[in-house]
Subunit: 365 residues, 2 copies
């Protein structure tokens, strides 16, 4: 096996602005990871109570070479804290420390920290720069890329947010070594996603390398993250604000969001709900005659092999419909699903209620 392909840089260009995703080992502690960022007096690291213990001092030390004042905001850990209250903790800190509009925020953590820090950066004084330092696989392959930021509302996930791009994403592979296996699997759900929606060759590659990925082998891991970021960056650069194409990135998310909301956020990990949601969306694609049973079964198998759930919770069919009707892709109450209509290709469309009911009946329990 060759040396791991580390320190890969994936450029992302969106409406004239552009930034780099840097992928490699030991990046947090290296000073040159932070070269070329916007100058400012203050850097503020936002993290959670779990990640703080592991990487906050390392990052603070590396940033102290570049910024005169480096401070830390520690949020409680977990999706249930992706709320206005936690967001306000960031604002309270920024204002108490008299941070000006050049202050750079650093999101050190998983998707929850990244989404909240990005949204705080979008809103603080109507916008300050921020850097994503994702420490989970899910964040490295999905949520840190593309500029979607948000908090949850009691009535819906990610309902309050902004499209706001980071100035850089620094994905340190070493941080994945401290992740629980359950979170590795959840991250793989989003890696798997890119195959059926955009790159059938990548799907086959994942099937071949899944065990290596589960074992965190550096070279395949770096490749999986890089390819995921490339696909996402390409889609987002064509449709930042999800007027069309970008919606395909939500494969598995319509059913998945319903599962998360129905159980209460945090019960299942986001990636677990997406994994199960992909199985359901593949089944729906098959029932509508868009793909054959073999392809649908391949999706179910890879989700299962990754250690992700393939059977959704029994929330009740009406409850699924109600929760899916609140999805942001819905228009005028019409639920729109991301469906696979060919290997490596997805479309956004509605589906007859009868087929959706059948999918829920067959895939929950």
């Amino acid at each position: 096996m060759k040396k791991p392909a580390l320190n890969v840089i994936v450029p992302v260009g969106i409406e004239g602005r552009s930034y780099d995703i840097v992928i490699g080992s030991g990046l947090i502690e290296r000073g040159d990871s932070w070269d070329g960022l916007p100058g400012a007096t203050a850097a503020v690291i936002v993290t959670n109570s779990t990640v703080e213990k592991l990487y906050a001092q390392q990052l603070a030390h590396a940033l102290s070479i570049r910024y005169a004042k480096v401070s830390l905001v520690v949020l409680p850990d977990g999706e249930s804290h992706k709320s206005w209250e936690s967001l306000n903790t960031i604002f309270d800190h920024l204002l108490a420390a008299a941070c000006d509009r050049k202050t750079v925020l650093f999101a050190l953590g998983g998707g929850v920290v990244g989404d909240m820090t990005g949204f705080a950066a979008a809103c603080y004084m109507r916008g300050v720069p921020f850097v994503q330092v994702p420490t989970t696989l899910l964040a490295q392959v999905d949520s840190s890329v593309g500029g979607k930021t948000a908090i949850n509302h009691p009535l819906g996930k990610n309902m309050i947010g902004a499209f706001y791009q980071p100035v850089r994403v620094v994905s340190d592979l070493d941080t994945l070594k401290t992740l629980p296996q359950r979170e590795i699997a959840a991250g793989l759900a989003e890696v798997i996603k890119y195959g059926p929606i955009a790159d059938d060759g990548f799907f086959s590659w994942i099937e071949e390398h899944l065990d290596a990925l589960l074992g965190l082998e550096a070279e395949p891991l770096a490749y999986a993250i890089r390819r995921s970021c490339e696909i996402k960056a390409l889609v987002v650069s064509q449709d930042e604000r999800e007027s069309g194409l970008r919606a395909i990135l939500n494969f598995g998310h319509t059913f998945g969001h319903a599962i998360e909301a129905g159980l209460g956020y945090g019960e299942w990990l986001h990636g677990e709900a997406v994994g199960c949601g992909m199985v359901m969306a593949a089944d729906l694609s098959e029932r509508l005659g868009l793909i054959d049973a073999t392809y649908s079964s391949r999706i179910r198998q890879i989700v299962k092999r990754a250690g992700l759930p393939t059977i959704g919770p029994r929330l009740g069919i009406d409850r699924y419909f109600e929760l899916m009707g609140r999805d942001k892709k819905s228009e005028s109450g019409d639920i729109r699903f991301v469906l696979i209509d060919a290997p490596g290709h997805a479309i956004l469309r509605s589906a007859p209620d009868a087929q959706v009911r059948a999918v829920i009946e067959s895939n929950t329990g």
Copy 2:
């Protein structure tokens, strides 16, 4: 005197997007004021408890021709309610009513309603369209134009917000007839502002027509609103995100914000604080040798004639400095003031503490 120049349209172009400001009489109840807006199932009118009684039914009726569902969110009245709690009232309503991402919000009210509705529109599902329907003079000449939206934080005014442009501004002159005189004067503060910073001829025109404006005479009023919007639109189109030029629109606001924050938001009207702040900023300009005593005195006189305060509250000099240091224009603790350096021209710069102290000493008590 000629017929009032009503139904004026001022186009605003910002980074490829553009929208119209429509100024005229009886616009709210006229169906054609709302022609050409984005189609949607739902329109949501956000207003406050005072304005609701006066115009909400009229607007709801006019919109019901175009939108299948028209609903109303009524916020408590006043700057002290420009808070996260009120903002959440809007989100709660939108989610409870299952509003999708095509829903159009209408901000019916003054600057507080406009800023909060705009920010809610910017954040709801990461952005839905909104229309400004300003019903105060201040909102018609200033806050409804240019896309600055925000809420206050206990530690600072407008600290949490977004740059987010409306799809249209509809300024119905008839709504000014129900405004208290104090609010007319407060609105005139922002009209007056445009003279010294951008158009010396307009400043002379205001001096000549101030009594007519205070008496709400239709033709001069329409002209003052139009000219104010034109100047603001020109400045904003060159610098939406306030990296430079746009800051000149904050003439009087550095001292003004300190007054508002020091007394507690809502004690003085925003326009009253800006009026007094302009007197202080003019005095500072004079002390720095940028303008002569005659010009500084003209600014003081017009503010006084408008019925606005020219003497700031005695908060203490250190307190003024502390509050001004939190201004969004500040960088690394360096307070930057908008100063007049020639009739009809403003610059952004810092000033020696001694002169700032002298200004506060001479103009408060």
